[in-house]
Protein backbone atom coordinates (compact mmCIF):
# COMPACT_ATOMS: atom_id res chain seq x y z
CA UNK A 1 0.00 0.00 0.00
CA UNK A 2 1.57 3.21 -1.15
CA UNK A 3 1.03 6.57 0.56
CA UNK A 4 -0.24 9.15 -1.95
CA UNK A 5 -1.34 12.58 -0.83
CA UNK A 6 -1.84 16.07 -2.25
CA UNK A 7 -2.03 18.62 0.53
CA UNK A 8 -1.46 22.32 1.19
CA UNK A 9 0.32 21.78 4.53
CA UNK A 10 3.94 20.74 4.96
CA UNK A 11 4.88 17.11 5.55
CA UNK A 12 7.15 15.28 8.01
CA UNK A 13 9.58 13.27 5.91
CA UNK A 14 10.94 11.35 8.91
CA UNK A 15 7.46 10.27 10.03
CA UNK A 16 6.65 9.11 6.50
CA UNK A 17 9.82 7.02 6.34
CA UNK A 18 9.09 5.56 9.78
CA UNK A 19 5.60 4.56 8.62
CA UNK A 20 7.08 2.97 5.49
CA UNK A 21 9.38 0.61 7.42
CA UNK A 22 7.50 0.23 10.72
CA UNK A 23 7.76 -3.30 12.06
CA UNK A 24 9.67 -4.57 9.04
CA UNK A 25 12.98 -6.39 9.06
CA UNK A 26 13.22 -7.15 5.37
CA UNK A 27 13.81 -3.58 4.13
CA UNK A 28 17.47 -2.94 3.37
CA UNK A 29 17.27 0.39 1.56
CA UNK A 30 15.17 3.54 1.78
CA UNK A 31 15.68 6.39 -0.67
CA UNK A 32 13.93 9.71 -0.21
CA UNK A 33 13.70 12.77 -2.40
CA UNK A 34 12.57 16.16 -1.15
CA UNK A 35 12.00 18.95 -3.66
CA UNK A 36 12.30 22.45 -2.21
CA UNK A 37 11.29 25.92 -3.41
CA UNK A 38 14.40 27.89 -4.48
CA UNK A 39 14.44 31.68 -4.32
CA UNK A 40 16.29 31.84 -7.66
CA UNK A 41 18.90 34.23 -6.37
CA UNK A 42 16.37 36.39 -4.54
CA UNK A 43 14.15 36.85 -7.60
CA UNK A 44 11.32 34.70 -6.27
CA UNK A 45 8.92 35.56 -3.43
CA UNK A 46 6.90 32.36 -3.69
CA UNK A 47 5.59 29.62 -5.94
CA UNK A 48 1.89 28.96 -6.43
CA UNK A 49 1.18 25.29 -7.07
CA UNK A 50 -2.04 24.60 -8.97
CA UNK A 51 -3.25 21.03 -9.43
CA UNK A 52 -6.12 19.05 -10.89
CA UNK A 53 -7.88 17.68 -7.82
CA UNK A 54 -8.75 14.03 -8.19
CA UNK A 55 -6.66 13.47 -11.28
CA UNK A 56 -3.47 14.48 -9.44
CA UNK A 57 -3.89 11.69 -6.90
CA UNK A 58 -5.02 9.20 -9.56
CA UNK A 59 -2.10 9.99 -11.86
CA UNK A 60 0.42 9.74 -9.01
CA UNK A 61 -1.20 6.38 -8.22
CA UNK A 62 -0.63 5.23 -11.80
CA UNK A 63 2.99 6.36 -11.69
CA UNK A 64 3.54 4.54 -8.37
CA UNK A 65 1.90 1.40 -9.78
CA UNK A 66 4.26 1.58 -12.76
CA UNK A 67 7.24 1.85 -10.39
CA UNK A 68 5.95 -1.13 -8.37
CA UNK A 69 5.66 -3.14 -11.58
CA UNK A 70 9.24 -2.33 -12.58
CA UNK A 71 11.06 -2.78 -9.26
CA UNK A 72 10.54 -5.03 -6.21
CA UNK A 73 9.40 -2.29 -3.82
CA UNK A 74 8.37 -2.93 -0.23
CA UNK A 75 6.78 0.49 0.09
CA UNK A 76 6.47 3.85 -1.60
CA UNK A 77 5.22 7.29 -0.63
CA UNK A 78 4.51 10.40 -2.69
CA UNK A 79 3.32 13.64 -1.14
CA UNK A 80 2.88 16.74 -3.29
CA UNK A 81 1.93 20.10 -1.84
CA UNK A 82 -0.40 22.60 -3.51
CA UNK A 83 -0.99 26.31 -2.97
CA UNK A 84 1.51 29.00 -2.07
CA UNK A 85 5.00 27.83 -1.12
CA UNK A 86 7.82 30.15 0.00
CA UNK A 87 11.52 29.72 -0.79
CA UNK A 88 13.13 27.14 1.48
CA UNK A 89 9.85 25.26 1.93
CA UNK A 90 9.29 21.69 0.81
CA UNK A 91 7.18 21.03 -2.29
CA UNK A 92 7.32 17.31 -2.96
CA UNK A 93 8.36 14.13 -1.18
CA UNK A 94 9.09 10.72 -2.64
CA UNK A 95 10.24 7.68 -0.69
CA UNK A 96 10.92 4.13 -1.81
CA UNK A 97 11.77 1.06 0.25
CA UNK A 98 13.29 -2.14 -1.09
CA UNK A 99 15.52 -5.00 0.00
CA UNK A 100 18.41 -3.57 -2.04
CA UNK A 101 19.63 -0.11 -2.91
CA UNK A 102 19.60 -0.34 -6.70
CA UNK A 103 15.82 -0.80 -6.82
CA UNK A 104 15.18 1.91 -4.23
CA UNK A 105 17.36 4.45 -6.07
CA UNK A 106 16.00 3.65 -9.53
CA UNK A 107 12.38 3.71 -8.39
CA UNK A 108 12.72 7.07 -6.59
CA UNK A 109 14.50 8.61 -9.58
CA UNK A 110 11.82 7.22 -11.92
CA UNK A 111 8.98 8.46 -9.70
CA UNK A 112 10.35 12.01 -9.75
CA UNK A 113 10.87 12.00 -13.52
CA UNK A 114 7.38 10.68 -14.16
CA UNK A 115 5.75 12.98 -11.61
CA UNK A 116 7.39 15.97 -13.25
CA UNK A 117 6.03 15.14 -16.69
CA UNK A 118 2.75 13.33 -15.89
CA UNK A 119 1.25 14.56 -12.61
CA UNK A 120 -1.15 17.48 -13.25
CA UNK A 121 0.57 20.25 -11.30
CA UNK A 122 1.55 23.69 -12.54
CA UNK A 123 3.90 26.20 -10.93
CA UNK A 124 3.36 29.95 -11.10
CA UNK A 125 6.12 32.26 -9.91
CA UNK A 126 5.42 35.23 -7.66
CA UNK A 127 8.40 37.55 -8.14
CA UNK A 128 10.05 39.33 -5.23
CA UNK A 129 9.64 42.70 -6.98
CA UNK A 130 6.17 43.97 -7.85
CA UNK A 131 6.23 42.58 -11.41
CA UNK A 132 3.64 40.16 -12.74
CA UNK A 133 4.02 36.47 -11.96
CA UNK A 134 4.53 33.97 -14.72
CA UNK A 135 3.81 30.31 -15.26
CA UNK A 136 6.89 28.14 -15.20
CA UNK A 137 7.56 26.63 -18.63
CA UNK A 138 7.99 22.88 -18.90
CA UNK A 139 11.59 21.89 -19.43
CA UNK A 140 12.89 19.79 -22.30
CA UNK A 141 15.31 18.39 -19.72
CA UNK A 142 12.41 16.92 -17.79
CA UNK A 143 11.02 15.27 -20.91
CA UNK A 144 14.41 13.79 -21.68
CA UNK A 145 14.78 12.61 -18.09
CA UNK A 146 11.42 10.82 -18.32
CA UNK A 147 12.34 9.30 -21.68
CA UNK A 148 15.27 7.50 -20.01
CA UNK A 149 12.71 5.07 -18.60
CA UNK A 150 10.89 4.33 -21.88
CA UNK A 151 10.41 0.64 -22.62
Amino acid sequence: MATIRVQSEDFDAAAEVDALIAGRRDVGAVVTFVGLCRDEGGRLAALELEHYPGMAEEEIGRVVAEAEARWPLMGAAVIHRSGRIAPGERIVFVATASAHRAAAFAAADFLMDYLKTRAPFWKKEHPADSGAGGWVAAKDDDDRAAERWAR
Partner: protein, 83 residues
Protein backbone atom coordinates in the same frame (compact mmCIF):
# COMPACT_ATOMS: atom_id res chain seq x y z
CA UNK B 1 -19.85 17.31 -21.05
CA UNK B 2 -17.78 19.36 -18.64
CA UNK B 3 -14.68 21.19 -19.84
CA UNK B 4 -12.10 22.09 -17.19
CA UNK B 5 -9.11 24.37 -17.58
CA UNK B 6 -5.89 24.75 -15.62
CA UNK B 7 -2.96 27.16 -15.28
CA UNK B 8 -2.65 29.67 -18.12
CA UNK B 9 -5.38 27.96 -20.15
CA UNK B 10 -7.75 28.72 -17.25
CA UNK B 11 -6.44 32.27 -16.89
CA UNK B 12 -6.76 33.05 -20.59
CA UNK B 13 -10.29 31.65 -20.88
CA UNK B 14 -11.22 33.36 -17.63
CA UNK B 15 -13.02 30.47 -15.97
CA UNK B 16 -12.05 27.16 -14.40
CA UNK B 17 -14.78 25.04 -15.97
CA UNK B 18 -17.98 25.07 -17.98
CA UNK B 19 -20.54 22.79 -19.58
CA UNK B 20 -20.02 22.47 -23.33
CA UNK B 21 -22.09 20.84 -26.06
CA UNK B 22 -19.97 20.47 -29.18
CA UNK B 23 -21.65 19.30 -32.40
CA UNK B 24 -21.41 15.67 -33.45
CA UNK B 25 -18.72 16.52 -36.01
CA UNK B 26 -16.32 17.16 -33.11
CA UNK B 27 -15.00 13.62 -32.65
CA UNK B 28 -11.54 13.88 -31.10
CA UNK B 29 -9.76 15.90 -28.42
CA UNK B 30 -7.98 17.76 -31.20
CA UNK B 31 -11.31 18.57 -32.89
CA UNK B 32 -12.57 19.90 -29.58
CA UNK B 33 -9.55 22.19 -29.17
CA UNK B 34 -10.21 23.63 -32.66
CA UNK B 35 -13.92 24.04 -31.89
CA UNK B 36 -13.23 25.74 -28.54
CA UNK B 37 -10.68 28.06 -30.18
CA UNK B 38 -13.49 29.39 -32.36
CA UNK B 39 -15.73 30.37 -29.45
CA UNK B 40 -14.21 33.82 -28.85
CA UNK B 41 -10.98 35.69 -28.55
CA UNK B 42 -10.19 34.46 -25.03
CA UNK B 43 -10.49 30.88 -26.32
CA UNK B 44 -8.47 31.71 -29.43
CA UNK B 45 -5.75 33.06 -27.12
CA UNK B 46 -5.82 30.01 -24.82
CA UNK B 47 -5.59 27.62 -27.74
CA UNK B 48 -3.37 29.66 -30.07
CA UNK B 49 -0.75 26.89 -30.04
CA UNK B 50 -2.89 23.75 -30.11
CA UNK B 51 0.06 21.36 -30.05
CA UNK B 52 1.13 22.75 -26.66
CA UNK B 53 -2.19 21.86 -25.04
CA UNK B 54 -2.43 18.65 -23.03
CA UNK B 55 -5.76 16.88 -22.71
CA UNK B 56 -7.18 14.53 -20.09
CA UNK B 57 -10.45 12.68 -20.54
CA UNK B 58 -12.10 11.63 -17.30
CA UNK B 59 -8.82 12.26 -15.45
CA UNK B 60 -6.60 10.24 -17.77
CA UNK B 61 -4.03 11.72 -20.16
CA UNK B 62 -4.97 11.26 -23.82
CA UNK B 63 -3.50 12.25 -27.17
CA UNK B 64 -5.20 14.75 -29.43
CA UNK B 65 -6.43 11.91 -31.61
CA UNK B 66 -8.43 10.33 -28.76
CA UNK B 67 -12.19 10.02 -29.28
CA UNK B 68 -14.29 12.14 -26.92
CA UNK B 69 -17.48 10.09 -27.25
CA UNK B 70 -18.82 9.23 -23.79
CA UNK B 71 -16.50 11.61 -21.95
CA UNK B 72 -17.95 13.30 -18.89
CA UNK B 73 -15.03 15.61 -18.10
CA UNK B 74 -12.40 16.89 -20.51
CA UNK B 75 -9.48 18.89 -19.15
CA UNK B 76 -7.17 21.23 -21.05
CA UNK B 77 -3.89 22.42 -19.60
CA UNK B 78 -0.28 23.30 -20.39
CA UNK B 79 2.56 20.79 -20.00
CA UNK B 80 2.92 19.87 -16.32
CA UNK B 81 5.51 21.59 -14.14
CA UNK B 82 5.05 19.95 -10.75
CA UNK B 83 7.55 17.98 -8.73
Amino acid sequence: MKAVYFAWVRERIGKPEEEIAPPASVATAGDLIAWLAGRGEEYAYAFEQPKTIRVAIDRTHVKHGAAIAGAREIAFFPPMTGG
